[in-house]
Symmetry: C3
Subunit: 318 residues, 3 copies
């Protein structure tokens, strides 16, 4: 899409040299043919370093836009980003693509739907009522149980097992809200990448990224009814027990263990080999590796246990 | 069904003028051709005001039944109501109805099932393995992703998006229990109504009403793995973050924000523009609009934060 | 499989009389043609009493193996058990079995998949996009709503209702982890048994047993988005409210009531007629019948309410 057309969509001034724009991305990740946005003064540093062709920006932050980058000045930049995101959303299915490629030895139920452009590896088993979307890629020896949905463009590795009724690549929970309290959808134009040897339980939701990828690395184990928000990165061999979850953009190191019903806030970084007891509530970064936590607010697990014992004693005294 | 037949089903005396009964409803909402019930002395006022043709009632409350309303006197009125509810349950699918109507420009997967009597609007996209039940209605421009189930009689508006593996209109969790601890199903003969511009994530459960409707108003946003109990009313532009939920019959005003894993007890009224932090547990009405809450038991969020800080200090001292 | 072959798979010494082995099982439950394993000194008593043909055992515990039982000595017995479990896993579908048997009066959607070897009782209703696996058995008068998956070998009784997108019999969450932090799947070769008159909501996950059966007894009621771990036993007429769950191997008596978002740790025993308030966290056995609990850590509910009131008062004072 031409940059001039984008300016028109956003009804903002545009008098620079026109050029072709391939997509949208975060300030840090945007390439020279992408548009980005900034909604908040705390990202000032990222503005200055961005390589984006253009940035959707409120008047108040326009001074930080680097030379050569086109400012697209709007009133509510987050809302404008949401408006624009729809224009970069691909069709849900692309029927014009060639038929799916199925690797040798794979057994695909006649009641599964494999969309055009998808690629299935060798020796896979794909059972009834599975949906594999446009351009999705499934590796070798992967087993997909009934009624799993893999949305378009998602990638699943070799030797994975995905249990029934799990949704991989549904839209992340993203929208802008205006001063009237109305919401505008932010189209989630990224995908999900699942590496090799990952097992995922039933009724799990792993959301596609807004830009880029939600990533589950090699050997991850996900139990039933778990939520993985958009743009999370889950390190190798990490484990999520049932009904736990993570809000968007949180990054876990390797071998992190997340107990049942525990949950992470968004945008955190969690050190490798951290363990979280059942129902932990994690709202800050964990920098030191190898410790065990519990409670909400979060404490080291032994401290949480001590605190609970003290509270119980106090209860007897008063 | 004749009132005399209902009396026979419930094995209770009946010597009044017979009449046709069209259904069952709550005391407050019952019309002059419906049967209602009362199981608890705290609803005495509702009995006196009811317009119901007949009320299933225990001996002890029969004195409150207004003139012209027929008392159906039983031992356990809640159990009897459950028994009767089955007789008003429609068939799960009605094959005798005409084929579904599909609006112009809608794309329906050949692997979706659209039951007889359903109506799909214009320019909808309905993907594989979706089920749209008897008499369900879908508006225009609505997108329904794979393996979504919309049960019979449910209504979805225009411009909605429903993600994979979500169940709309499954039976609410209702049963009577007798003195032996056995349960009797209360058939859920209501429906779900979802207004325009609502987006619902994957693996969400929105239960149909026992009578009347569970209602999601315009612009609501529901994240993954959320529970909405029967007969809830969710106000315009309200937001439920992942793994949160509400028990039955709770009413939210507009722009209520419900954090991850937060939950409402049943039968509450929540003021508009209330915000609930992640894992809030809400067990009482919220009357004042615009405040932020957290914790379980619930406090104002800043109080909860202070309380947690004090507890942490206490822990160091003792 | 011959015992000599098992020794070869596990690369351990074997110089005893060879014999045919039919499967794997826990020490307590293993019969004379099954292999078992022990990973932990706390099971010493169970070793001495086992009837297993052979036991996978670390060097340190080999002295407890009873006469006539073959020790299979390995370095990491839990890992070796995981390795061996794959060899006893049946094919996901067995196409060579005869076509499914469908009882008189049952209505099966042409868009449902009933695998070979399955048996469906009389007067069942099985809607579109349901999957009933190899050798699964469904009783009479049972209703299964769209996109439910019943995995192979699972058994469902008479007069049951199972709502959309529920997964019955997906693999329990089991794996061994080695010193490098890598995981090895423990194949879940048991099943799920659901007795008569059980109703299960939408988006529920009930996992198959690793050995033996996960069991829901007569009259159980399960709300939406509930997790039942492998090898749980849920007593008659017990009730799980939405978003609650249990980790593996926990046994509930009859008429246990589990509030919304409450959860059990694994390997517990819970007395009949216990009630757990919403969001209870249960981590120890409950021996006395008929009490009501709440909180995490768990207290009797009235104590938890008092404690919270005291904490609130304390907050005002300090």
């Amino acid at each position: 899409m031409k940059l001039s057309k984008i300016a028109k969509i956003l009804t903002c001034c545009f008098d620079k040299a026109d050029r072709e724009i391939s997509g949208m991305n975060a300030l840090k990740d945007a390439t020279a043919d992408e548009v980005s946005f900034v909604a908040n003064a705390k990202y000032v540093k990222d503005i200055q370093d961005t390589k984006a062709a253009a940035v959707i920006v409120p008047e108040s932050l326009v001074g930080y836009i680097p030379d050569g980058c086109v400012p697209l000045i709007v009133k509510n930049s987050y809302w404008s980003m949401a408006v624009l995101s729809k224009y970069f959303a691909p069709d849900i299915e692309d029927k014009k693509l060639p038929n799916a490629q199925i690797g040798e030895g794979s057994k695909i139920s006649s009641k599964a739907e494999i969309a055009n452009g998808a690629k299935i590896g060798k020796k896979c088993i794909i059972l009834a009522h599975v949906y594999i979307g446009t351009n999705a890629v499934i590796g070798d020896n992967t087993i997909i149980y009934p009624s799993v949905t893999v949305y378009r463009d998602c990638v699943i590795g070799n030797d994975c097992i995905i249990h029934s009724n799990t949704a991989i690549g549904a839209d992340g929970f993203g929208f802008a809200t205006n001063s009237l309290g109305e919401h505008k959808k932010i189209y989630q134009n990224g995908n999900v990448i699942i590496e090799d040897d990952v097992e995922i339980g039933s009724n799990v939701s792993i959301d596609r990224a807004v830009f880029g990828s939600t990533l589950l690395k090699k050997g991850v184990r996900i139990d039933n009814l778990v939520q993985i928000g958009h743009n999370c990165i889950i390190g190798e061999y990490s484990v999520f027990v049932s009904q736990s979850g993570s809000a968007g953009s949180t990054k876990l190191g390797r071998n992190v263990v997340v107990g049942g019903q525990a949950a992470f806030a968004g945008h955190l970084e969690i050190a490798s080999f951290s363990t979280f007891a059942a129902r932990s509530g994690i709202t800050h970064n964990i920098k030191e590796s190898g410790k065990t936590y519990g409670g909400f607010p979060l404490l080291e697990q032994r401290q949480w246990l001590k605190l609970q014992a003290k509270i119980a004693r106090l209860f007897k005294r008063y």
